[in-house]
């Protein structure tokens, strides 16, 4: 293989070096001395996940390939595949719109289509590599208990990454041509978010409407679905059969997926530069210069800050799509609430932890944006306002959004079950305050565009935020049944929050 400058192999080496350094920097937060700790954490996590996998799928290693099993596996594959498409669309949009090294490459005399071919292939590899660590413990357990044939599942992951990328490339380019580069950015990001969540939510909504439960398996294992399932020798089962290590379907699925990816690369890579150049010309966006300009409003310093936060959030389609992911998961509980409105069933108890968890997660993201993701830190810092005043206004902005999102749900819940509404409301407030406090203690200075990477800037904050939300969700779930029993999970959640405060950088305790 020739690594001469300008060849595909040379570009591949360049891209892999960048990807490796990017990943390393992301994992170690830019500090190489943290690498041993990161490796240790990965090993511990992998061992833990193998135990979880053993508990979850250990019993299925020698399962028979009947309709029920194939349906469940196909659904799992479809879910993962949709998530991969969502991620691949995200990556494609970024490849088109973020300039980074595009100017350098397009201005150079090399044939850029080779690089773009490598870049599309890199997305496919990244999709497979991202999925592999999550799937690996499950596959390993199945291999250990069911035999080598389960290794076919790794091949399926490669195939899924390739097809997801091919489809994402096709979708993004189609959007680009249909609605133009300016709108594609927003639409592609929103589509990516919706695609990622649609399948899970669809199954949950179907389960709620049919069986009054939030479980996805209820629909998949229902008689109606199994009766309409295709025959066992149908090509539709090939992905599931490939996961089982069935030779012909495995080879077929991999060959077809690689062919699809190759086709996508052949069709798009030569025009990639052209698309990127068109995308670069979409800088001026959303002019409202022709609209009547509203007069300046009398605003207090605090309300000026709050209004700015809300305006920025509302106008950023990328951030909206990221938060939309979290919001979409509120649809099933909302449907459950609506479905159970009349019958007074115990379904409300299911709602409480879901709402509390969603509030904690949403508040964490919003708090990061408001507190750490300040694009004009110097401006705000040089304003004649005490720093505590600024932080208070930003926290109020977060609480305002949470109130707007959850108040309608609470109002409906209060109408049908005041007790559950009270527990959920308290849980939402506490989870929101915890997540916001954690972001406050671990606040840093970053651009809003770095939102995706907020998790890697402080892993302690990320884990604390997640575990606190889980803790408060558990507390609310138990409290809905017994206040006394809720003390234990509440203490655990408090411990997580206290631990986060203890580990927060000194001087940040606001």
């Amino acid at each position: 293989m020739s690594f001469a400058p300008g060849t595909t192999a040379w570009f591949a080496r360049h891209e892999s070096r960048l990807a490796w350094r990017d990943w390393l920097s992301m994992m170690t937060a830019g500090r190489r001395d943290r690498l041993p700790r990161v490796v240790f954490a990965i090993v511990v996590f992998a061992v833990f996940m193998h135990f979880v996998a053993y508990w979850m799928v250990g019993g299925y290693a020698n399962a028979v390939m009947d309709s029920s099993m194939l349906t469940t596996i196909t659904a799992c594959i479809l879910l993962s595949w949709l998530l991969m498409i969502s991620q691949a669309m995200e990556s494609m949009t970024r490849a088109f719109y973020s300039r980074s090294d595009l100017d350098l490459i397009l201005a150079s005399p090399v044939a850029a289509d080779k690089l773009f071919a490598v870049r599309i292939a890199t997305i496919a590899i990244a999709m497979a590599v991202m999925a592999a660590p999550i799937a690996a413990p499950f596959i390993d357990v199945l291999v250990a208990r069911g035999g080598w044939r389960w290794l076919g599942a790794y091949g399926l992951i490669v195939a899924m990454g390739a097809t997801a990328t091919a489809l994402a490339v096709g979708l993004t380019v189609a959007l680009f041509r249909l609605i133009g580069p300016k709108r594609t950015r927003l639409v592609a990001q929103v589509v990516a978010a919706v695609v990622g969540a649609a399948f899970v939510i669809g199954l949950q909504v179907a389960a709620i409407l049919s069986y009054g439960t939030i479980s996805r398996l209820a629909v998949l294992q229902s008689r109606i679905v199994l009766a309409k399932a295709p025959a066992l020798d149908s090509v539709l089962w090939w992905p599931a059969r490939a996961a089982f290590g069935d030779g012909v379907p495995l080879v077929g699925v991999i060959a077809l997926s690689l062919a699809l990816l190759g086709l996508a690369i052949m069709m798009v890579a030569p025009r990639f530069g052209e698309y990127a150049l068109v995308a670069a010309g979409t800088g001026h966006s959303s002019s409202n210069g022709f609209h009547r300009q509203a007069p300046f409003r009398p605003l207090s310093q605090r309300s000026a800050l709050r209004r700015k936060e809300w305006m920025l959030l509302r106008r950023d389609p990328w951030l909206v799509s990221q938060t939309l992911m979290q919001m979409l998961y509120l649809i099933p509980p909302a449907v459950l609430l609506w479905h159970s409105f009349d019958d007074g069933s115990g379904a409300y108890a299911l709602l409480v932890p879901v709402l509390v968890m969603a509030a904690g997660q949403l508040a964490g993201g919003l708090a990061w944006l408001a507190i750490s993701g300040e694009d004009a830190p110097d401006l705000v810092a040089t304003a004649p306002i005490p720093p505590s005043f600024i932080l208070r206004a930003k926290v109020e902005a977060v609480l305002g959004v949470i109130a707007i999102v959850f108040a309608p749900l609470m109002a409906v819940l209060a109408f049908v079950s005041p007790w559950h509404a009270l527990v959920a409301s308290v849980g939402i407030i506490v989870a929101t305050m915890s997540a916001t406090s954690i972001q406050l203690w671990f606040r840093g200075q970053a651009k809003r565009s770095q939102f995706r990477r907020r998790q890697v800037s402080s892993r302690v904050a990320t884990f604390a935020e997640a575990f606190a939300s889980i803790g408060w969700a558990a507390t609310a779930a138990v409290a809905a049944m017994s206040l006394v029993l809720a003390i234990a999970p509440a203490l655990m959640a408090l411990l997580v929050v206290a631990g986060a405060r203890y580990m927060a950088p000194r001087g940040s305790h606001a």
């Binding site: 409202n288 210069g289 605003l299 207090s300 309300s303 305006m311 106008r315 004009a376 040089t382 306002i385």
Partner: protein
Amino acid sequence: MLAENFALEICGLRKSFDRPAVDGLDLKVRQGEFYALLGPNGAGKTTTLRMIAGLLRPDAGTIRVGGTDALAEPAAAKQIMAWISDEPMIYDKLTPREYLEFVAGLWGIAPTVAEARAQELLSWLDLAPHAGERCEGFSKGMRQKVALAGALVHEPRVIILDEPLTGLDAGSARQVKSVLRERVNAGGTIVMTTHILEVAERMADRIGVIAHGRLIAEGTLEELRIAADKGAAGGPSRGASLEDTFLALVAEQAQAA
């Protein structure tokens, strides 16, 4: 009473990171004066300005802005001050008009007053046709002009600028310089760092040269030439440019160090 004659008074200012960045700096800038702070890279110029603007806490020393102790009463000092850096930090998703409304809100300016000032500034800086467009597509020059408008909307008495002309085209740079000159003519005080020595030479009433965190020379261009002449052999001759004078002063300081 003496402090009130100065828009800015710095005494014994120190700040260390891995090594001293500002090392016992003393500086006084009169009201209505255009003061240029020059120095080689890493001399401590930006650190000094960031401490004045309240963006960094000094290790030691005092800063008085318009007679107010900026360390003891930061809000009062910030009320009469504005800060502009070389990298204009504005919100991409806001329009220039909305940005100015936000800044006016932060400084507590009455909406009617702020709106009139905003209109005036937007026209003055040729931003009026773009007042309703979001800033995300603006060029560096336009962004810097939006930042400048934001800095002026609350009519600060002291304006602190860190390399405000970096990356601007000739037209934008001229506009910014003209606005700054107007502010000084109106009684405002400007403290600015720049690497464009021609700007300092033409615009500044007084120039300070900083190296290794200390003020090594200060005065008008002529006074600096004299100071450089008195220094090491090979100093600039009479009528030498600021560039020659500056390089001679820095070289002299390097030799002394």
